[in-house]
Amino acid sequence: MTALVRLLRVLGGLFVDDGSLALAIIAIVGLAAGVAALAPAHPLAAGGVLLSGCLAVLLGNVLRAARRRGAPGGKRF
């Protein structure tokens, strides 16, 4: 059982390193799916949301991580 949990944790670690980044990516995909469903006449709008969202999320996450580095009680990488 412990080995199975450890294996699942390792497999999960392949995709999730920083939880907030993973959640933000899922949120962007959900938003793009919502736009695709609500505006089927403009399918490129969903693509725009997806692409710009992913770029923005990554940039924001990196800058936040850089700011946190070295701060007292800040996250260790």
């Binding site: 993973a22 399918p43 770029l55 800058l63 850089a66 580095r69 990488f77």
Partner: protein, 248 residues
């Protein structure tokens, strides 16, 4: 789909697998240095056999999943996987976190095994075999995922498999010829490039799964690569002074 997609798929699988194979080889060589090739080879063989079973077991199910669902699922996994790599590569390039050092990883693994040898002499061959097994299985799983992710969505599994196989063979030949880990491999530059490629594929397949008609079809992947590259370079430049400020 045009043959234009085959080259990025092959390149992404090759570069990604190069990094994973180098990491597995580092641990394998550490085990072999401390306990000899028998437990190292046995563990590696068991790891490869388990990987083969997983691939044979999971592979046939891919054909049964509707294409747009497969593209969406793989796209999201690629985004999670690729952007995780890219984030780490950006933070390393900006000096926010330390670079991964295969020579240090080799030294640490070797020291760990020596310590275990001192404490647990009778069980050591078993532990050495398990260490080798885990390294090959886990790094191998990442290689399998990369191959499926960049190949399955666009029906380029063969191209992606060839890329991964070439990388594994290259790392094995060079590593065993040198008898030391590939410390000179520009690992962060590779992770940076693979992170960009996987993220671009992730956006493309997720969009395809959602029914987005990307302008230029497959060629859009190259445009996404360019955008992720520019954004990543900007992120490195912006994160570097922040990291320095925070430390000082």
């Amino acid at each position: 789909m045009t043959s234009m997609s085959a080259l990025p798929a092959l390149t992404a699988a090759f570069l990604g697998s190069l990094v994973e194979a180098a990491e597995a080889l580092t641990i394998l060589l550490a085990v072999a240095t401390v306990r000899g090739w028998r437990p190292a080879g046995l563990g590696a063989f068991a790891g490869l056999a388990t990987l083969a079973l997983i691939v044979v077991g999971v592979g046939p199910f891919l054909d049964r999943i509707p294409l747009h669902l497969l593209q969406l699922g793989i796209g999201v996994m690629l985004l999670l996987f690729g952007m995780r790599w890219l984030r780490k590569a950006i933070l390393r390039a900006a000096g926010v976190i330390r670079l991964h050092d295969e020579a240090a990883a080799f030294a640490s693994e070797t020291a760990g095994l020596h310590e275990q040898a001192r404490k647990l002499q009778p069980r050591l061959d078993w532990l050495a075999t398990v260490a080798s097994f885990k390294a090959v299985l886990l790094e191998g799983l990442e290689v399998v995922f990369i191959v499926i992710a960049v190949g399955a969505g666009g029906q380029f599994l063969v191209a992606a498999s060839i890329g991964a196989l070439l990388a594994c063979v290259l790392v094995m030949v060079v590593g065993f010829a040198l008898h030391r880990p590939l410390a000179r491999l520009p690992e962060n530059a590779l992770k940076f490039a693979v992170g960009v490629l996987l993220s671009a594929f992730g956006v493309f397949w997720t969009g395809e799964g959602l029914g987005v008609p990307w302008p230029g079809q497959d060629l859009a992947i190259l445009g996404f690569c360019g955008l992720f590259l520019v954004m990543a370079a900007a992120a490195v430049a912006l994160a570097r002074p922040r990291a320095v400020e925070a430390v000082s």
